[in-house]
Amino acid sequence: MTASSRTAGKGASLRKDGGRPFARILVANRGEIALRIIRTCRDLGVETVAVYSDADVEAGHVVAADTAVRLGPAPATESYLRADAIVDAARETGAEAIHPGYGFLSERAAFARAVMDAGLTFIGPTPDAIDALGDKLTARRTAKDAGVPVVPGTYEAAAVDRPDQAAAVVGAAEEVGFPLLVKASAGGGGRGMRRVTTAADLPAALAGGAAEALAAFGDGAVYLEREVRPARHIEVQLLGDAHGTIVALGERDCSIQRRHQKLVEESPAPGLTLGERAQLHDLAIRAARGAKLHNAATAEFLFDTDRRFWFLEVNARLQVEHGVTELVTDLDLVAEQLWIAAGAPLSEAVLAAAANALTPDRHAIEVRLAAEDPARSFAPSPGRVGDWRMPSGPGVRVDTALRAGERVPPHYDPLIAKVMTVGPDRGTAIDRMRRALDEVAVTGIQTTLPFDRALMRDAAFAAGELSTDWVATRWAGDARRAEALVRAAQVAAGVADGVPVGAATDPSLRKDGSGSAWREAGRRASADRWPR
């Protein structure tokens, strides 16, 4: 939180004059994050260029932008991952800068370089910083050199293809200790990751992890890391300007995960002491400074049962869950990103929020609504949405680009909406989330809503007993679904009897008492086994 020399750049004078950071930018993403960025641009008077694949011709982000450019067919490799086509689109439409959002090209240093080589501004860290942080092995070394405790493990890629080195790898593994994780250096989202409990399983895990990493990221480098478990996953939101100032804007607890993907996030992390919070923020800033980072980034840590923090990685981009920090701090992180990219020093509002980061006076929670089936290990469930009703009211924010009747394509991330609530304390935020989720109505596809509803009613969650093991140890999707099936069948039988559909959500209109002939005969409802 050092305020180094804060030279007023081009952006600073613009901001004072009521100007705008850019006249026009291109948003190199889709879905809710593209729309969320476009909204801030509108607030700032910045024109927007959307890009889209053939699966997204009429998607929400395309409709919202001032201009839209087709990239190619639906698969991401032929559209949203085509750096050349995106840079060309920016040039052709006169965009001055490109915001990458999260995922896709957001952490590819080569893309950031291509944007800069084209004479455009990349809204994010420098390519060198992305290189230093995007590669987990480099990030581990950088953090270690900065004096930040790193999860015990190796700091060089394991020699997967060298049989003569096998004994050395096993030796390193024994030093790390079992169970351990084989992780991809270029990794993300749990891909290339393998859990290993004995030395005998190590060679297969290394080969499998390396092959998966190579296929997913084009880089097969893997390393070993001790499995810290049980643990909480806590991360720090960082913002840094081009003039060397880096601040922490509070932390987020993202412990509720499955397959190393976050399901629910909240800020602040429940139960941290003031000292722990100060230590955590300090470690995050040290790690970021070591990598000469600026713009928005997140430093991720594990918090073990002995209340120690272990550095995991830094994500040099806007995170999916940035909204909870916005609700707690009242900042618009995307607006700050644009100003930083335009050369402005961190704003007074950011510095004030950073000064309050240790004593937040609000609590925010986010649940990720995804097109996934929580009774079948969160398997993807894309398809066409029928009804689509999102919550509103006091303390509720919803980020989504989906509309009723629209198709959720199978090609991209299953995230379809982020439902966030905020209140003066955690209890209020949970109460509001429970109410907000009651207002959600989605037909046509299965979503993760049942999981989110159950979590907001869970005693351990309410008590702040968070762990990355929560889903594995406390979630029984099949049993929950079986209970709901009986009620669903009763409702369906009522519909077949002519109970008005509208009555389904309004108990006062319910048909009651005396049974019809149909009812006396009984009804049978069975789940369709499609395709038959």
Binding site: A375, S381, G383, R384, G386, D387, D438, V440, A441, V442, T443, G444, I445, Q446, T447, T448, P450, F451, D452, R453, D478, R480, R481, A484, L485, V486, R487, A488, A489, Q490, V491, A492, A493, G494, V495, A496, V501, A503, A504, T505, D506, P507, R510, K511, G513, G515, W518, R519, E520, A521, G522, R523, R524, A525, S526, A527, D528, R529, W530, P531
Partner: protein, 151 residues
């Protein structure tokens, strides 16, 4: 509706008695209703507490008949025992194409039932000899009545 997969392996049919009127309708969304499938079952999409189901609703008596019919067809095809063909819809017999002693092939028309101003042809589920035809043209039949017995 009935397009994307929503069924899970192991989902069993649920029989709903008159007690279902006590159903709690909180957090229930009724989505697509219809169409009626070829077995006369109504498709209803229901989302309960976020769980989405595509359900096929039919009268319990008819469900039992349909199940027996498919069981009989399977058993008859394998063992060659007598097969009772029953009415799966109530209506009036419009015409009868076979008499006791006739030999029929699988798929051959046995009779036609008129219901809701529509003629529904009933075909032999397997080959065999007609042993009994307890109905005649003009008979009114109820759901589950025996129409033809194949030996």
């Amino acid at each position: 509706m009935l397009a994307p997969p929503s069924a899970h392996p192991g989902d069993e049919p649920v029989t709903i008695g008159p007690e279902r009127t006590a159903t709690d309708r909180s957090n229930v969304v009724v989505g697509a209703v219809g169409p009626v499938d070829r077995d006369g079952r109504l498709g209803v999409e229901v989302v309960v507490e976020g769980w989405r189901f595509e359900l096929l609703v039919e009268d319990e008596a008819r469900a039992a008949l349909r199940e027996r019919a498919s069981r009989d067809a399977a058993a008859g095809g394998a063992a060659g025992g007598p097969l009772e063909i029953r009415a799966i819809i109530p209506g009036r017999i419009a015409s009868v194409a076979v008499a006791p002693g006739d030999t029929v092939e699988a798929g051959q028309t046995l009779l036609a039932v008129e219901a809701m101003k529509m003629q529904n042809e009933l075909r032999a589920p397997r080959s065999g000899t007609v042993t009994r035809v307890p109905v005649g043209a003009g008979s009114t039949v109820e759901l589950g009545d025996i129409l033809v017995v194949l030996g």
